[in-house]
Symmetry: C2
Subunit: 178 residues, 2 copies
C-alpha cells in the first residue's frame, strides 16, 4: 500500500476517534503485533499518545525494552485479522505469517509498519514512570504515514467480546474545536 507522510499536527485526527489499532514491535529479531483499544491523545504537537498494556501481554516486554513501536490503524476489511491478533500470543505465533500481514520498514524505528493498515504511526516511548502502577506508556509519534487513496476509511471500535461498531455516516458541525 503506497502511503504518504502525514503531517504530525494531523495525527490526533486518527487517534481521537478511538479506533482499534494494531501495535507492532520488534524485539530480539522478532516482529510482533498486538491488538489494542486503550490509547488516547495526550497532546497535539508533537503528538503524544498514552497507551495501556498489561504486563501479561507479550508486547509489554518488547515495548519496555526497545522503547519503540508502530501504531497501525486498520479498517473494517481487516476485522478478522484484528481479532486474530487479539486472540493469539506472539510468544507462540508469528502473527505476520499466520494472518498474512506484511511488515515493511519504518523510517525512524525498528518496529515494522503493517502494510495493509490505512495509517501507521512510528512511536518512541518517552516516559515509563506510569508503567509499573498502571501499565501506561507515554509515546511520542515521530513519523506518520497514511494511505491517500482511501478517502472513506471505516475504522472499528471495540465494544467488548468481539463486538465492534463500524464507522457509519460522517457528520460535520460548525465548530471552533481543533
Amino acid at each position: 500500500m503506497a502511503k504518504r507522510p502525514l503531517p504530525l499536527a494531523e495525527v490526533y485526527r486518527l487517534i481521537e476517534p478511538g479506533p482499534v489499532v494494531l501495535v507492532s514491535t520488534m524485539s530480539g529479531g522478532r516482529a510482533n503485533i498486538m491488538t489494542m483499544s486503550w490509547h488516547i491523545m495526550v497532546d497535539f504537537e508533537p503528538p503524544i499518545i498514552a497507551c495501556v498494556m498489561s504486563n501479561r501481554d507479550y508486547s509489554f516486554e518488547a515495548l519496555k525494552k526497545t522503547r519503540e513501536c508502530v501504531i497501525n490503524v486498520p479498517t473494517v476489511e481487516l476485522a478478522k485479522k484484528v481479532v486474530g491478533c487479539g486472540n493469539t500470543s506472539g510468544r507462540v505465533v508469528d502473527k505476520f505469517k499466520k494472518f498474512g500481514l506484511t511488515a515493511s520498514a519504518a523510517s525512524s524505528v525498528r518496529a515494522p509498519l503493517i502494510d495493509e493498515c490505512y495509517a501507521s504511526l512510528e512511536c518512541k516511548v518517552i516516559d515509563t514512570k506510569l508503567v509499573t502502577q498502571y501499565g501506561i506508556f507515554i509515546l511520542e509519534v515521530v513519523k506518520a504515514w497514511i494511505d491517500p487513496s482511501n478517502k472513506h476509511p471505516r475504522t472499528i471500535h471495540h465494544q467488548g467480546k468481539g463486538k465492534f461498531a463500524v464507522d457509519g455516516e460522517t457528520i460535520k458541525l460548525p465548530s471552533k474545536m481543533k
Copy 2:
C-alpha cells in the same frame, strides 16, 4: 430518562469504543459540562479511566479541586449540544441552561448526571500525580447508569474540527477477548 444501574464490570464496553463524552462537574455551587475525547480504560474492575484535560479548560480546576466528575455518554441525537458544550466556556455560560440539558442527582458524587445522555459514570479522582506534566487524571468509576430502553445507541467519534464518525453497523466476531 429512566436509567438502571450498570454493573461496574461492564463499564469498559462503553468507554473502550472511544465515543465523545460530556464530563460534568460541580464546583462552588456551579454545575458545568465539558466535551471530551481524550479518555481511556486503564483497568476493568474496578473500572479505572484515564482522561486528559488542559489546564486552560474551566473543568480542569473543578476536577482538581473537587476530585469528582460524571462521564456522560451522548448519542448522535445530542451532537449539536455536544459541539455547543465544546465551543463555550463554563466561565461565562451555564451550559445546562444554554443547551437545554437536565442535571439530575448522582448517588455517590456531587457532580450531576446529564439526564439526556445514554449512560453516566460517576467518577472519583484517585491519582493526580500526572496532572501537572500531562494533564492526565486517573479516575475510578464508583457507580454507573445506563438507559435500558436504548437498544442501539449510536455514539459519535470526533475526527477533528467538528467532524464525527457516527456508529454504523455492528459486527460480531468469535473472540476470546474481554
